[in-house]
């Protein structure tokens, strides 16, 4: 069952009916059953044990962490006057160490499951390469392990929970079934967004009344998601696949165009899925975090990553970047680097290195392949150098009398960012890093921009002029909507204030556009790109 199958629509209608009627006093139970059923239908029964293991282990971790902290606090409260300052300090350190050990064990355990299932094949391949390179007659069989649905997403979400308990930001959940709902909540299990416990849990456990306007908005959001996925993403993939699977048949400009289109394809695919997920939750009365904020309006790569897959970015920031950048070791490194590189560089070097590590992890998170590692390094380079040379950058802008409110400067920033993002897409779309390099080389060597005005471009992948026109018009409409959102114009609110004839005409145009122009059914793949991560 995929999010854009009729089974999912029927499933959702049944859940909504139960949620607001029969099980209206036990809505969280309804969601828990729905989540597990959804997981079984989508991921299969074989992968369910992994979800259960992560749920139980992180639940136990939370309880243990909180118990350890409570035990320490009670002990201190009772014995504060009996101990000297240095002893109290020692007890505090011991408590923190105990908690750290518990935290580490459970993080390593859950990340270990993820690592083994997702990366063991890649690691074995590299070991075999090393053996072959050294003429050793050894070969380890590449494991063919099942990758549970949404493992990257629910693992990160669960780890975020236990870190928040460790930090004392939230209290540990005492109800394992409610906690199981937080980990497995069905709309987000496939591809996020990665939620925080303090943002999501109470909403999941609370009772929500039926709200017609909220449900209407939720359905509209879902329709927009289907529009992006079925009309734009599935159409773009025809062109992108045709070019990337046979790059030698196309000029450099066309390859660049394919990489550019792939950026839109993956944005439409991922954000379309997120819209369906957020819209579904909205119907149920649950507000989820936004995962995108018009990334193609970004002014820089750093800005792009604050607009793209926002919840992964904030997760990395809160649970990796800050712990690294603010750690004692990095503090020492900062002091040392100030003495070597001067105050300006030395001050920001720890942040730059931490940023580099974060983006490397982001790259690795995407998949077990060198191309994703280099993708991480590529983005890390631009983000880090942006931070490192920010002051020089400001000086140059000032000398050239460029201010941020200039429209020409804004356009340049956006164009530059889109260009850099497109180059990055060579790596994520190509089958391997070597092929990505070859594609970049071909782009430069055989660059023929005039191919864009030749009619043959309309026949790439067999798409034809009609589908090309639909794709073009849909993308224009989507860009207009993104520009309106960037300027804080709430389209749903605006439409809801119009008269009923206008609203319903728009709704029917939207619904039947998706039904008629959507690419779905026999012959079309039924997956989201990020489902594979």
């Amino acid at each position: 069952m995929s999010l854009f199958s009729t089974y999912f629509i029927i499933f959702l209608i049944v859940i909504v009916l139960f949620y607001f009627t029969i099980l209206k006093n036990r809505q969280w139970v309804c969601l828990l059953i729905a989540s597990y059923l959804f997981y079984i239908f989508c991921g299969g029964l074989k992968t369910l044990p992994f979800l259960i293991i992560t749920t139980i282990s992180t639940f136990i971790a939370g309880i243990l962490l909180e118990k350890t902290q409570k035990k320490y606090e009670c002990f201190i409260k009772e014995n504060k006057d009996k101990f000297e300052k240095h002893k109290l300090k020692q007890l505090k350190v011991d408590n923190r160490t105990k908690k750290r050990i518990i935290l580490s064990i459970f993080i390593i355990f859950n990340l270990g499951i993820l690592a083994v299932l997702k990366y063991s094949g890649f690691i074995v391949e590299q070991i075999n390469h090393i053996f072959a390179h050294n003429n050793l007659n050894k070969n380890i069989a590449t494991p063919n392990l099942l990758l549970p649905l949404g493992i990257s997403f629910y693992t990160f979400q669960s780890i975020g929970y236990i870190i928040d308990v460790y930090r004392g930001k939230i209290k540990a959940d005492k109800d394992i079934f409610k906690f199981a709902l937080f980990v497995s909540y069905f709309p987000q299990i496939i591809q996020g967004p990665i939620s925080r416990y303090n943002q999501l849990a109470n909403q999941l456990y609370d009772t929500h009344q039926w709200d017609y306007k909220r449900a209407k908005f939720g359905i509209q959001r879902m329709l927009f998601g289907y529009f992006k996925k079925l009309i734009i993403a599935e159409r773009a993939t025809i062109i992108v696949d045709a070019i990337f699977n046979n790059p030698d048949n196309y000029s450099g400009f066309i390859i660049f165009f394919a990489a550019f289109l792939y950026g839109f394809q993956i944005y439409a695919d991922f954000s379309g899925g997120i819209d369906i997920i957020i819209g579904t939750s909205e119907i149920l009365g649950i507000k989820m975090e936004e995962n995108f904020k018009q990334p193609f309006m970004a002014k820089s790569i750093a800005d792009y990553w604050q607009r793209w897959h926002i919840t992964l970015g904030t997760w990395m920031r809160d649970y990796l970047f800050y712990p690294l950048a603010l750690s004692k070791k990095f503090n020492k490194l900062g002091k040392k680097s100030r003495s070597i590189f001067g105050n300006q560089v030395g001050k920001i070097l720890p942040a730059v290195i931490a940023s580099f590590i974060v983006f490397l992890c982001v790259g690795i998170w995407h998949g077990a392949s060198w191309k994703y590692i280099f993708y991480g390094i590529y983005n890390a380079f631009f983000v880090s150098s942006g931070t490192l040379f920010e002051k020089n950058y400001i000086k140059i802008k000032s000398k050239l009398k460029i201010t941020d409110d200039l429209i020409s400067w804004r356009i340049f920033q956006t164009a530059r960012t889109i260009f850099l993002v497109t180059v990055g897409r060579y790596m994520t779309r190509a089958d391997s890093f070597n092929i990505a390099l070859k594609l970049i080389k071909n782009t430069l060597k055989r660059f023929d921009p005039w191919v864009i005005i030749r009619p043959s471009i309309l026949e790439i992948g067999g798409i034809g002029i009609y589908d090309f026109t639909i794709l073009f018009l849909a993308m224009i409409l989507w860009i207009i909507i993104d520009i309106l959102h960037e300027n804080n114009i709430q389209i749903r609110e605006y439409i809801s204030k119009q008269d009923i004839v206008f609203r319903w005409t728009l709704y029917f145009i939207g619904i039947f556009s998706i039904i008629i122009f959507g690419k779905y059914g026999i012959g079309y793949a039924a997956r989201f790109i990020y489902q594979g991560f």
Binding site: T6, I511, F512, I515, I516, F517, G521, I522, G523
Partner: protein, 354 residues
């Protein structure tokens, strides 16, 4: 009051949605009704004199393009009708059989087993057209409903069968003209014949191992066997001559026939084909279908084969079957005229259009 308004609005919205759905369905759903080869063939079958047809041919395009009932009658006096169909599947064959025996009580069913080993799933784009063609042209509403239920059970895209607009939604760029339209004169008795010839050399050993997956779909063939036993109808299985006969298909067919005590006529060697008078250079339009001349030769051979095996009545001297003579004469006159049209401009000949 507010809830009442919402309910009324919702009902009106759904009503408009259904109207629009029907409107778009009318323009976008690809109907095979225009293929009069099937629609007229059924109506002519129903018009046949009751209980006068002794043999029915059922199966794939191999049999549809394989046996001419007019030639069989002239050769042996056996009355027959051809209900073979292209891109068909075991479920269609079974329901065609159930339809056919409502109008006639044949003594023999000739069952083409060419497709016995193909999965022929309704979700497979290659075979889906056969399912849709059957649904759009089959005249028996009761059997069509049962067929529909059986198809839905086997499909992973059930909604596209319940709501065809979901299947044909992306056909908006095509015209509504049916590209699979074949003329039916009324004299054919179900057979389809083609004038094109593909001259080809065949190996002596026709059995090959294409490493096709063996997915014997025998459930519906078994149902046909059961119904025939109930009605005391004999079955003759056949696999018409093919340039490449997959070994898995052959073994499935042999096993099925052995299990059900059915005779299987098959051709594993080129010499067996030559023995019955067929010439692979002149009598085939592709690697597994006869052209007009191949149909005529094979029909004559097959007529004698089943006459000897099953002792069927020779109606040639029976005045009650004079209309069969008249029909056969009309058919061959028609074919002669069509052949003249074909020779004028083979590329633009539209009698049989794929």
């Amino acid at each position: 009051m507010k809830n009442k308004t919402i309910i009324i609005k919702s009902i009106v919205f759904i009503f408009i949605f259904i109207c629009l759905w029907c409107f778009f369905s009318y323009f976008l759903i690809f109907k095979y009704n225009y293929d009069e080869f099937y629609t007229k063939r059924y109506s002519y079958y129903e018009k046949e004199d009751k209980n006068k047809i002794d043999v029915l041919y059922l199966g794939t395009s191999s049999i549809q393009d394989g046996i001419n009932p007019n030639a069989v009658f002239l050769e042996s006096g056996i009355t027959s009708f051809n209900l073979g169909a292209q891109t068909t599947n075991p479920i269609s064959i079974y329901y065609l059989f159930m339809y056919a025996i409502k109008f006639q009580t044949p003594k023999l069913i000739v069952l083409d087993l060419s497709g016995i080993s193909d999965k022929r799933s309704p979700d497979d784009e290659q075979w889906e057209v056969g399912y849709r063609l059957f649904l759009d042209t089959f005249p028996d509403k009761d059997l069509k409903r049962k067929y529909f239920v059986d198809v839905i059970k086997r499909s992973n895209y059930k909604s596209s069968w319940l709501f065809p607009l979901l299947r044909y939604h992306d056909r908006w760029i095509y015209s509504r003209d049916n590209s699979i339209s074949r003329y039916y004169s009324g004299y054919e008795k179900g057979v389809a014949s083609y004038f094109t010839t593909k001259s080809q050399s065949w190996s002596e050993n026709l059995v090959v191992n294409n490493k096709n997956k063996n997915n014997p779909q025998i459930e519906y063939y078994k149902r046909i066997v059961k119904e025939c036993k109930k009605r005391n109808i004999k079955i003759q299985a056949v696999i018409t001559p093919k340039k490449e006969l997959d070994i898995n298909y052959l073994l499935s067919a042999k096993q099925f026939c052995e299990d059900n005590n059915i005779d299987l006529l098959k051709f594993e060697k080129l010499s067996e084909i030559n023995e019955i008078g067929l010439d692979t250079q002149k009598d085939f339009m592709d690697i597994e279908h006869f052209n007009y001349w191949g149909v005529e030769k094979f029909s004559k051979y097959f007529a004698n084969y089943i006459q000897q095996k099953y002792d069927l009545i020779d109606h040639r001297n029976d005045k009650n079957y004079d209309n069969w003579y008249e029909n056969a004469i009309a058919y061959y006159e028609f074919i002669e005229n069509q052949y003249k049209e074909y020779n004028k401009n083979p590329d633009e000949y539209i009698y049989y259009v794929h």
